[in-house]
C-alpha cells in the first residue's frame, strides 16, 4: 500500500490542526498521530538572555530542499510502518511566535509515529538545505550550525 506523503515548502503559515485532520480523515487504521511544530523564538540562538531577535529570515535551495526532504520521507516510510506523513517547512521572514516547520506522522501504534517524527526532524536540521538569519536591533547575522544537531542525526545512521 502506498503511504500518503505530503511535502510542502511555503512562505505562508500553516494550520497545525488542519494538517493533522487531513492526515487521519476517513481512515480507521490510524491509532497514533505525532506532530512536531518548530516555532520561532525571540531569544538569539547563541545570545544572552534578553538579546531579542525581531525575525528569522529563512533562505533555502529551491528544488533541492523538496528533493532532500522527500528522500528522508521515503526512508522514514521504509523504516517504520507509517500510514501517513506530512512535512511543511516555511521560508522567508518569520517573526517570533510564528511557525517554522511541521512534521506529522501517523501509524497504527505510537512508537513508529514518535520515532519517525524525531528522525525526520533530526535530518531536517542537518541535511535539508535551509539557512536561518537572525534580524535584531543590533543588525543581522547567520545562525551557526550546532554539533548537537549533527549528533542527534547520527543516532539514526544505520550501522
Amino acid at each position: 500500500m502506498t503511504v500518503p506523503v505530503t511535502i510542502r515548502l511555503q512562505e505562508e503559515d500553516f494550520d497545525v490542526a488542519r494538517e493533522i485532520a487531513a492526515l487521519s480523515r476517513d481512515r480507521t487504521d490510524i491509532g497514533a498521530v505525532v506532530s512536531f511544530s518548530g516555532i520561532c523564538r525571540s531569544d538569539k540562538a547563541d545570545g544572552e538572555v534578553g538579546d531579542a531577535i525581531a525575525a528569522l529570515v529563512l533562505e533555502h535551495y529551491p528544488g533541492m530542499a523538496e528533493e532532500e526532504i522527500a528522500r528522508h520521507a521515503e526512508e522514514a516510510v521504509a523504516r517504520w510502518p507509517l500510514t501517513g506523513l506530512t512535512v511543511i517547512h516555511r521560508f522567508g521572514r518569520i517573526v517570533p511566535g510564528d511557525n517554522i516547520v511541521l512534521v506529522v506522522t501517523a501509524s497504527a501504534h505510537r512508537e513508529a509515529a514518535f520515532h519517525a517524527a524525531e528522525f525526520l526532524m533530526d535530518y531536517l536540521k542537518t541535511r535539508a538545505p535551509f539557512w536561518k538569519r537572525e534580524e535584531g536591533s543590533a543588525g543581522s547575522g547567520w545562525v551557526d550550525a550546532h554539533d548537537r544537531d549533527d549528533a542527534a542525526a547520527a543516532r539514526w545512521a544505520k550501522s
Binding site: 518548530g38 529563512l58 533562505e59 533555502h60 535551495y61 528544488g63 533541492m64 530542499a65 528533493e67 532532500e68 517547512h89 517554522i100 516547520v101 526532524m121 531536517l124 536540521k125 542537518t126 541535511r127 535539508a128 538545505p129 535551509f130 539557512w131 536561518k132 538569519r133 547567520w142 545562525v143 551557526d144 550550525a145 544537531d149
Partner: protein
C-alpha cells in the same frame, strides 16, 4: 556548469549563481573550491575555511573528494540550520 551559492557563501561571493567552465585539471569538489578561491578577494573570503563549506552536485549532498565531471549544477553553502 551552473554554480550556486547560498547564505553567507552567497553574500561573500556577491552573487547567487553563475555559469563557469573550470579547466580539466579541476577534477573534484575540493579542486573547484581551490580554483574558485583564486578568482578574487570575494571568493577567497567565501572559501577561506574550505572544510566548513558543504557542497551538492545536481541537488544531492556530496563530499569534497567527489568528481565533478558531468555535473550540471554545483552548489556551495554553509552547514544547514533549518528545522
Amino acid at each position: 556548469m551552473k554554480v550556486l551559492y547560498f547564505a553567507w557563501v552567497r553574500e561573500r561571493v556577491g552573487k547567487a549563481e553563475e555559469a563557469l567552465d573550470p579547466p580539466p585539471a579541476v577534477a573534484t569538489v575540493a579542486d573547484l573550491i581551490a580554483w574558485l578561491s583564486q578568482r578574487g578577494d570575494e571568493y577567497a573570503h567565501a572559501f577561506e575555511k574550505p572544510k566548513v563549506i558543504r557542497a551538492a552536485i545536481d541537488r544531492i549532498h556530496v563530499k569534497q573528494d567527489t568528481a565533478i565531471a558531468g555535473a550540471r549544477e554545483i552548489a556551495f553553502f554553509p552547514p544547514m540550520t533549518g528545522g
